[in-house]
Amino acid sequence: MISKFRAIYLRELKYYFHSITAYVTICIFMIICGYFFFSIFRYYNFISLEIIQSSDLSANINLIDGVMRPMFSNISIIILLILPMITMRLISEEKKQGTFELLLTFPVSDTAIIAGKFFASLTILAIMLSLTLIFPIMLMIFSDPEMLPVLSGYLGLLLMGASFLSIGTFFSSLTSNQLVAGVSTFGVSLFFLVIGWAAPLTGSTISTILAESSILVHFESFSKGIIDLKDISYYLLLSLFFLFLTLKSLESSRWRA
């Protein structure tokens, strides 16, 4: 079981790094992140200078609130856009080329197939996120920001990304058309992201439900340096839910095939 999971996991990773997909995706991701980091940082410098000149001592800004938190919300939007492009081929491509049919006749459980593919995409995300650690490291060279909010923010991004990836894995298992899989993933991920915005407009019960199911609301505390079990469980449950749907979709694709 483990060795078969490993074989699929390594095959997927190899695919990303054999083709230029991984490099192009990671490169574009880093360029966009770099752009945001420098513009946020310049704006932060500008604001701090103003504060010093006006010698308004009540104003209290720091690198976490001024740079890292805006950075985290930017990264979450960028991964929302980029991750569907990573997951859209996971199963769709194999369905299209017929290799999936052969894979399903090997003595490998559906769970091992899905887990192998999902964790390969999660590894790409982890690589992308760890490259952006360069930005907080740069801050550490010039100043000394608090470490906990940085680390918890990254944990939050990884969990949030995992839920996007599981949504992507699910849609990739539904169709042999990569574009359809990618666009649906983006749509549904965006839905979970913005669902909280509707909260203030509704009654109290619905409002709580909407807020609690929002991907963004649960990210709030992570970016403040608070690691809450409730938020962690939210992301894990959301991911598991979509991976479970993927499993069901594989089972039913055997019936329909």
Binding site: S3, K4, R11, Q97, L102, T105, P107, V108, S109, W255
Partner: protein, 314 residues
């Protein structure tokens, strides 16, 4: 041993395979014959545990395809119709991946790859990227992945489809070799291939089993009449020769096909059960007619196939 009982598959309301029952003995090479849409691929997909049957059951080496699907999958090698391969991998990398997925023990992975590379004649391309290989070699890679776990049963869906005549001959040899120590089920459109390679043939049409038998028996069973071609030295009236042969018991009809100064050619149709050639020969000799040629014309498997699947008024 493989046992199929009343296997049925519906795609929506469309019945693709209908109450199929047959058995395959260990070590046998079984041919699956049928026109497009007959349900060959569908049957194979069920036997390889890709999809469950709508009803009916099948067991492979005593393991039920639905209840013990993992046990079945461990014991088979499957080459699907369109030879799906990972085109970005090298042949050896691909075979290693399949070996791991099929659960070949870590210690014997090297030797399994070597054995299947060798038995499929892939030595020269083992280090090449699959996407760059010719169709014939890709087909061999497809067969190599099927045999990597040294399966007791090989299921090959149209293994020679889309190959040139030379490659077809090569693949046929390969199947013959692989079939020496294994049970093989293969489907095909190329009928002479089935009669060359297979011990037994199953003919299906529109999901229904039409006939199961050895190629030779099928040929015998289907001969409604035998045709004998006779060529003799011309001696007087060709019509007299025709009359002599027609008067023999068992001859249904005699037709003069060609007659000139030197020779007369005739087509003789007789009842299938009797061997007529020696009787015809002796009656000609008795009448002092020089016999030049005589031979029985066999029904090709192609004819049988067409006769079986096109319902003609019996």
């Amino acid at each position: 041993m493989i046992k199929v009982e009343n296997l049925t598959k519906y795609y929506g309301y469309n019945k693709a395979v209908s109450n199929l029952s047959f058995e395959v003995e260990k070590g046998e090479i079984l041919g699956f014959l049928g026109p497009n849409g007959a349900g060959k691929t569908t049957t194979m997909k069920m036997l390889t545990c890709f999809m469950p049957p709508s009803s009916g059951r099948a067991s492979i080496f005593g393991f039920d395809i639905q209840k013990d699907s993992m046990e079945v999958r461990r014991r088979i090698g499957y080459l699907p119709e369109k030879t799906p391969l990972y085109h970005d991998l090298k042949v050896k990398e691909y075979l290693e991946l399949v070996a791991r997925l099929k659960g070949v023990a870590n210690t014997s992975i090297r030797s399994s790859i070597e054995r299947s590379v060798e038995s499929c004649g892939l030595e020269q391309v083992a280090g090449k990227i699959i996407g760059t290989l010719s169709k014939g070699y890709q087909q061999r890679v497809g067969i190599a992945q099927a045999v990597i776990n040294d399966p007791e049963l090989l299921i090959l869906d149209e293994p020679t489809l889309g190959l040139d005549p030379r490659q077809i001959i090569d693949i046929r040899h390969l199947i013959n070799n692989l079939g020496r120590e294994r049970t093989v089920i293969l489907s095909s459109h190329i009928l002479p291939e089935v009669s060359q390679v297979c011990h037994r043939v199953i003919i299906i049409n529109k999901g229904i089993l039409v006939a199961v038998d050895s190629p030779e028996n099928l040929r015998e069973r289907l001969k409604k009449s035998s045709i004998i071609r006779v060529k003799v030295r011309a001696s007087g009236d060709p019509g007299r020769i025709s009359e002599i042969i027609s008067s023999l018991e068992g001859v249904l009809m005699t037709k003069i096909q060609h007659a000139d100064e030197e020779t007369v050619s005739l087509i003789v149709e007789s009842v299938p059960v009797k061997e007529m050639r020696d009787t015809i020969a002796s009656v000609l000799v008795k009448n002092n007619i020089g016999l030049l040629e005589i031979y029985g014309e066999e029904l090709s498997l192609e004819d049988i196939f067409i006769k079986l699947v096109t319902k003609e008024p019996a």
